[in-house]
Symmetry: C2
Subunit: 324 residues, 2 copies
């Protein structure tokens, strides 16, 4: 910038004004400055600008894993809105490890991101308190923060979705419905179990529930164990997209009534077509990002808790009747 200034025969500050489109520069001078900028190939050093202005025009996003379609859909929506606001996105995958989540958040904070969107992996977020007190807006998406922290959250209607899935299966004659879900420490898994339990009511049987990280062997074993019961399940409710796919693989072509939480590509090309409770990761990202920018514009109201609707997409697998 100093070089541009001397090349154009003006003061540093004048170049700064031109670069930032500030008023109060004579058009002729401005043109001369712009010419010098082009000639020297100058581009503003954003690090210095951030330091001076105290704002980084950067948003931090912590998710579980970009390679998971749920997160990458959310990611893309966040990215679009962030760019729209002239900011950039620093993102990181926690791999669902609380330690890594915290590291990422702290690294982002050290970079003084203007705001954070977090899909938490851990249960304790008290480490965020200094940042929150410093005024950095933080939005939790998909899962709420741990105890003692109350900030904006955007969650899906997990309980309602699970209820709907189970009722759908019941509506097609099923009474013995198994639930295969992720470890109960994971908020969404626990919520969906809650909905399952609520919808099962008196039919609830603990032996039809299996909650653990999804692995093909684990699912196979759980299914085998349940099949050996004297009242084996006639239908399956799977607790997330990964689980649905793993269960389909474990079923190896057997036609079993099934509804999965989370929609997935090709669900409509399988045989039978897979019925799901669909949530929309893109709108979750959009809502979270918009909430964040509202905060950045100064909205200081009480923490908001948004619940996004889910919808049942009946494609066939949920309508298979129980074996006679």
């Amino acid at each position: 910038m100093k070089d541009v200034a001397s090349a154009a025969g003006v003061a540093l500050k004048t170049v700064s004004r031109v670069v930032n489109g500030e008023p109060g520069v004579h058009p002729v001078t401005a043109e001369r400055v712009r010419a010098a900028i082009d000639r020297l190939g100058y581009s503003r050093n954003e690090s210095a600008r951030m330091l001076r202005r105290g704002r980084t025009a950067t948003i931090g996003l912590v998710i579980g894993d970009v390679a998971d379609p749920f997160y990458s859909g959310l990611s893309r929506a966040v990215e679009d809105i962030v760019i729209e606001h002239g900011c950039l996105l620093l993102s990181g995958s926690s791999g669902e490890e609380p330690g890594r989540e915290r590291e990422l958040v702290e690294t982002f904070c050290a970079r003084r991101v203007d705001g954070l969107i977090v899909v938490p992996a851990g249960e304790d977020h008290t480490y965020l308190r200094p940042e929150l007190e410093a005024g950095t807006p933080v939005i939790f998406a998909d899962r709420p923060p741990g105890a003692g922290i109350d900030v904006d959250t955007v969650l899906a209607d997990n309980v309602g979705g699970a209820v709907r899935a189970v009722r759908h299966l019941m509506g097609h004659g099923h009474h013995r419905i198994a639930f295969l879900g992720d470890a109960p420490e994971i908020f969404t898994a626990a919520e969906r179990l809650k909905g399952y339990r609520e919808a099962m009511g008196g039919l609830y049987d603990e032996r039809l529930v299996s909650m653990r990280p999804p692995s093909l062997e684990g699912v196979r074993a759980a299914l085998a164990r349940m099949a050996a019961l004297d009242g084996p399940p006639s239908a399956l409710f799977t607790g997330n997209g990964r689980y649905t796919v793993t269960a389909l693989r474990a079923l190896a072509g057997r036609r079993v009534a099934l509804v999965g939480f989370d929609d997935f590509e090709l669900a409509d090309l399988l045989d039978p077509k897979v019925s799901v409770v669909a949530q929309d990761p893109a709108s979750m990202g959009r809502v979270a990002a918009e909430l964040l920018f509202r905060r950045l514009r100064g909205d200081a109201g009480p923490p908001q808790h948004v619940e996004l609707p889910v919808r049942l997409v009946a494609r066939g697998s949920g309508e298979l009747p129980p074996p006679a």
Copy 2:
């Protein structure tokens, strides 16, 4: 940092030394400083550090669309290696628009990223020249840069993969093999067409080729047009993952011999199981990132051009014989 210094009764520089783990600080002093840091909840301002040191510990990644599994797989691999090197990742989706690609790259450069990994959408990258001359390492992945720019590239063996796909179908008795691919301006699409043509040899018939952005209607129309020929195709080679899925949808359950470029989740659960030429987006990301860090460590050798192998995964759809 100033506050920490006065709280600990030492000079600014001593705090800096402690924070950076530099030697030459008495353990007792260091402990006092650390105590003050904890008490005040201090964390280093990375913006200032970047400005002062001239390095941002940030890598820029430009891809087509994070929501596409190919890109998100690549993204995740890059991210892991970047974090491993103590850096963070700024990423952006170009949406396959050259203008947006350029904007992203230029914004990243203004932030003085230490290096860039780009999956280009455009054909002209001369705008990168100033950055390259300034010494910023840039790696192109999946597609090469436009004319006049010679930098490190990591590409898949597109031609070889297409050849293998076509030969596989031929080996099962097919002579009339259609190719459905993306617009020929897209490098990978053009390369795969090249491989297709090479493998078809004398059997090549222009009327069996359709290249345009994938849309269900477009694919349906192309298939209908080809089916009406007096020598209709008995097999399909689809030019990328999106195309394979779209074609399967357009076929609506008809059992047609098919090999697709790019593997995809659930390919093994469809009926028939879908045979593909698989590339590994994660290893592409890993190789690109590792190459980048080698450059950052000072390797100034001539531009490298890595070609990653692809492999044919025969699952069944490619082994369907032609109708009798």
